[in-house]
């Protein structure tokens, strides 16, 4: 449009092609200010406070056995929850997009439930379900499994709050891709596994990657649900976010921020992993991304 009109009137300056500089700079400034205020400033504060009493105090706080136990537990919970969510997300996405069955819409809605329900309530549900008076509690006790106030409960709560991310990411991708490529693979003689690994998986890998990263971030940062089922037994059932809170409540501010910086590090590591994976997948299949983006809009 705009090119066309400038062709006809070459003498006129091209004004309508872009916003005036004031608007451009203004918008950029607002965005930057917002980022600085809500992202950069808190981040800097965390590290300033963490290192406020020197590197030695920082290392002491981080190397404390209880802090290390919390770190281990957080990593363990994420290490179980993320793969579980990836598998569940692919199953759910597959079922919802490739088949017609009664209850399909209900399933789609149910997947969003953890987004809608407050995490604290999610935690309560697990306590009610597996607690001593709970529905499944006696059965678990009989088999010698502790769920509430123990690691399994924390893992369950973490899975609950982080499972929609993968399914949410890949359902639109799978929907856009349709079933034709799978059908083509089948007629060409590919079995179910071959079809999945050679055709379906490459088409949804970006969705899986982003879903996995979001899911991981949520799993490591979850506070509400985990805090209800954990019982906050130091060195045993404390995750990093819970440990930060306990330290903070005990006025051990420097230690609290030091542990908080660990969480921040984990987030940064996640971002680095994402970038590396992105680059590797990107090199392997330069061509699928623009196509996938186009398919996503269609």
């Amino acid at each position: 449009m705009s090119v066309h009109s400038t062709d006809r009137r070459p003498s006129q300056p091209v004004r309508h092609l872009s916003e005036p500089p004031v608007v451009r700079w203004g918008l950029t400034a607002v965005a930057l200010a917002f980022l600085a205020l809500f992202l950069l400033l808190p981040l800097v504060t965390v590290f300033l406070e963490a290192f406020g009493h020197g590197v030695r105090a920082y290392l002491a706080a981080v190397a404390e056995p209880e802090a290390l136990a919390a770190l281990r537990l957080t990593l363990l919970a994420a290490a179980i929850a993320v793969p579980a969510n990836l598998v569940f997300g692919v199953c759910a996405g597959w079922a919802i997009t490739k088949f017609e069955f009664p209850g399909r819409n209900v399933l789609t809605t149910l997947i969003d439930l953890p987004f809608a329900v407050s995490p604290v309530i999610a935690g309560m549900v697990f306590v009610l379900l597996f607690g001593r008076q709970g529905f499944l509690g006696p059965w678990a006790a009989e088999h010698g499994v502790r769920i509430v106030f123990a690691v399994p409960g924390i893992v369950l709560a973490t899975i609950f709050v982080s499972f929609p991310f993968v399914a949410r990411e890949i359902i639109p991708v799978m929907e856009a891709a349709g079933t034709q490529e799978e059908e083509a693979a089948r007629v060409l003689g590919a079995g179910g596994f071959q079809t999945f690994f050679r055709v379906t998986l490459p088409n949804i890998k970006w969705g899986l990657l982003y879903g996995g990263i979001l899911s991981n971030a949520r799993a490591m940062g979850e506070f509400g649900a985990v805090s209800v089922v954990s019982g906050k037994i130091r060195g045993l059932t404390n995750t990093l976010p819970l440990h930060v809170e306990i330290l903070y409540n005990e006025y051990a501010f420097q230690a609290a921020f030091a542990v908080a910086s660990l969480l921040t590090f984990l987030a940064l590591v996640t971002l680095v992993v994402k970038t590396v994976v992105e680059r590797r997948l990107g090199v392997a299949s330069e061509e699928t991304r623009p196509e996938a983006a186009v398919a996503g809009t269609g």
């Binding site: 034709q180 059908e183 083509a184 003689g189 071959q194 055709v199 088409n203 061509e287 196509e291």
Partner: protein, 354 residues
């Protein structure tokens, strides 16, 4: 390989997609399934391919029930309407796919796969595009890759779903000619689905016309054009003028036309209609019987023919096509009265109660 389809039925919810469909395809035939959208032709093709299950009926390949076979053993090559190329694979890998997924014992060695894929890419004249991705190809090129991919597994039957539907007219023409040459070369039993009658008539040795899940006619292209079995086939295969009326005592009374109709010698009258194609009508300036008077309402020069629209005394339109030479003798202009006489009228009685 020959295909025999017997009594196929398929229902999607409340929609009867196929209703007792039976036909057969001989070895080396190129058969067209022709029909409007929703006529069940694609469903039929998908059932033959094993992508869909029939509610009832059987599909026999060389006399053996195909449903019992894994797609791999069916020996079917399928070309999808929208190509369904694997978008994350190069053209080469797309074509190689069917060979690579074979069980280890049957899988050719890498050098053999390379040779085979390159040979096929040569056949579809795309050997220079092996390292491209589908998104970098034009529609016609994608379609040919899809064809090469289907042929790579050495199918005994080739099934094509609206193979040229998504392409522009010129590419379609070109691919049509090319597919016919290919079929003459490799002589593979082939079935293709189309809603384009021109495509079906030009390409196929045999045409099966479908409507609302049923077969209307099964015959050679010449059969369906010259001897349409039903009014639907007549209508679907091109423009046609309809004269409504009745048949009685061996005569069809169709408005101003009266024709012999020995198929119904009874005194009881039955509703009927006569059909004439625009090129089966002649125009003259004098009443020499067997026709009707009409007023010219439109004249269009359309290449080799001249298209007339006339209005009869009921003011319903009649389409007539004349050759240039015939037109030169008449030279009728808009508003003039002319005498229209059908050289040929096909009369169909309506079913009682229909």
């Amino acid at each position: 390989m020959s295909i025999e389809v017997k009594g196929l039925r398929k229902r999607f919810g409340g929609f009867q997609a196929l209703d007792d469909v039976s036909f057969s395809v001989g070895q080396g035939e190129l058969l067209a399934l022709l029909g409007p959208s929703g006529s069940g032709k694609t469903t039929l093709l998908r059932i033959i391919a094993g992508l869909e299950h029939a509610d009832a009926g059987t599909v026999l390949f060389d006399g053996h029930d195909a449903a019992a076979r894994h797609p791999r053993e069916r020996g079917v090559g399928f070309v999808f309407q929208h190509y369904a190329l694997f978008r994350h694979m190069t053209v080469f890998e797309n074509v190689a796919f069917g060979l690579r997924v074979r069980p280890r014992a049957e899988r050719p060695v890498e050098s053999e796969i390379r040779r085979k894929v390159n040979e096929l890419l040569g056949l579809v004249q795309l050997d220079y595009l092996g390292s491209r991705y589908p998104s970098q190809l034009s529609g016609g090129q994608r379609q040919r890759v899809a064809l090469a991919r289907a042929l790579a597994v050495e199918p005994k039957v080739l099934l094509l779903d609206e193979p040229f539907g998504a392409l522009d007219a010129r590419v379609r023409q070109e691919l049509r000619r090319w597919l016919r040459r290919l079929h003459a070369e490799i002589h593979l039993t082939s079935v293709f689905v189309t809603h384009d009658q021109e495509e079906a008539l030009e390409l196929a040795n045999r045409v099966v016309v479908m409507n609302e899940g049923r077969i209307e006619q099964d015959g050679t292209p010449d059969d369906v054009v010259e001897h349409p079995a039903t009014p639907f086939v007549l209508n679907f295969l091109g423009q046609v003028n309809i004269f409504h009326g009745r048949v009685q005592d061996g005569t069809a009374w169709l408005g101003p036309l009266a024709l012999e109709y020995p198929e119904h010698p009874h005194t009881e009258a039955r509703t009927a209609a006569g059909y004439s194609r625009p090129h089966e009508l002649d125009i003259s300036r004098s009443d020499d019987g067997g026709g009707l008077w009409g007023t010219v309402s439109d004249v269009r020069m359309a290449g080799a023919v001249v298209k007339f629209e006339l209005l009869d005394d009921q003011r319903s339109p009649i389409q007539v096509e004349l050759g240039r030479e015939q037109y030169a003798q008449i030279r009728a202009i808009i508003g003039e009265s002319v005498y229209v006489k059908p050289r040929r009228v096909r009369v169909f009685m309506q079913e009682p109660g229909g």
